[in-house]
Amino acid sequence: MSDIFVLIEHRQGKIRDISFELLNCGRKLAEKTNSNLTALLLGYNTENFVEKIKSQAHRILVINSEVFKDFNSESYQIALSEILKKETPFITLIGHTACGMDLCPALATQMEFPFTTDCLDVDVVENKVKVTRQMYDGKLNAKLIIRENPSYLFTLRAGNFPSEESSLKTEIINIKSSVTEPDYRKFVEYIEAVAGDVDITKSDIVIGIGRGIKEQENLSMIEEFADNIGGVVACSRPIVDADWLPKDRQVGSSGKTIKPKLYIAIGISGAFQHITGMKGAETIIAINKDPNAPIFNEADYGIVDDLFKVVPVLKEKVMELK
């Protein structure tokens, strides 16, 4: 067998969006390599999940066990290594998510598969496997040639293979597993973010601030602007790291995903983790001093200038026009 495999990711009873992107990417790869796509589903009460992904792959290998109710990379690794040993797939794709980052390097290392992480694309050219990924704060892309081997493992970044309809005839294979959660790493519980006073996912206008804001005192200028324009203030990760805004204001992969009518990114360079959280906004504005900041690749309108000069004027003009 030299199938394409994808790992279905789920959390708290729901299949995560990345799974459909993996299935889409996997189908494309399977088509290109004349092979089949197999979805790996490790979970508990998997019937619902199977229903959701049926017709998206040629096969679904299912392990239905309470051990896999919540993600624990060590339990996953034990079960998956057994399957991969037996099945020897050509390429296995896992999401570049908190789960994937925890699992892929360890699993691949155990299997002695060449692997790489955070791929934007995986391609097979004349029997060579090549991947595209980003480096240097998203400022450059790199094409990598992967060491030749019968099997490979990659994590795929979200956002490049939007989920698509598919009508494959799907074979569902249930696998018995005796895997138990190892004592050396136990999943205890999920801890939800503490809800704050502002819900940034509910506002039509969101002003996002990043490193460029330089110091906490400058927040008040942005807050005034947000009040004027009728929006709320959100931020990228460094602002939360510095404790200038609470975690529930963070937009991005480890924060919230927002889809406002208007998103104004102020002093945000645009790391992909942030982009992931805001690219669904209808109109995106970027104000940044650095003309090469990746945020401008996502914006509809941009101003390349010092935010401290632009924002005060913008505030005035908005007041005038309102």
């Binding site: 919540d70 993600f71 624990n72 990379s73 060590e74 998510t97 980052m101 925890d102 390097p105 360890a106 290392t109 060449p114 692997f115 790489t116 992480t117 955070d118 991947v131 480096m135 240097y136 704060d137 400022k139 450059l140 790199a142 094409k143 990598l144 040639i145 992967i146 060491r147 050396y184 790493r185 136990k186 999943f187 205890v188 801890i191 939800e192 973010a193 206008i205 490193r211 009728g230 460094p238 480890s254 919230k256 208007l262 360079s269 109109t283 970027a286 650095d290 401008f296 690749n297 914006a299 509809d300 309108y301 941009g302 101003i303 010092d306 004027v313 913008l314 003009k317 908005v318 026009l321």
Partner: protein, 257 residues
Amino acid sequence: MDIIVCIKRVPQTAEAEVTIDSSGKDIEKDRLSFDINESDSYALEEAVILKEKFGGTITVISVGYQDTEDTLRIALAKGADNAIRVKAEDFEHIDGYKTSQILKSVIEKESYDLIFAGCIATDDAYSQVGVTLAELLNIPHASLVINIDTSENRADVNRELEEGLMGHLDISLPALFTIQTGINEPRYASLIAIRRAAKKEIKVIGQEEINKDNLLLNTEIEELFIPPKTKEVEILTGSPAESASKLAEIFKEKGLI
């Protein structure tokens, strides 16, 4: 509690212009400044916090060129006790996987309760060295760790998942954690600590102590290129006042205000 912290010296590219060099496979580094990788500095700080609480020693290790010793010395000034540099110049190509293999062959000779690494390096952005290293050493791991509460032989850690959610794990030691930024507030080194650290010896390890032949390279850079534009942005030009006025007009037109 003995802790090993894996650190990397990286070019500071977040706010700098990044250009591709003539080989097409690397970047121009002459004009960039270098410093400890961001999440590594949090990893180091977390180790220092634990050392202040439980005692023990901290060893910092880096695979890097000669100038990496400057970064290691700063780590000594911030609270590490020992520093090891593995000579990057002894290895032709190095990727994330190879780095982990090299680190493994050094660390397996050391004793430790915990190993920390940053959760991602800002240059090659792999997020894989720490977890790979844990697997090679055959110890449990947790990545993206945002809180650590440790007793003698176990640790309660919170991993940062998506959408503000955290996953709480209970892990036996020795273990490896990759540390997420924001877990603490990294300190600056005081002058006195710098003066003391400047005199400390940094252990330098070359290829003779690492079996180079068994090292595998997973990846090879074929080319670097500027990311294609996915969206055409309209840049509003003029003085700050002019561009801001244009933008306000756009808000008005689109009925956003």
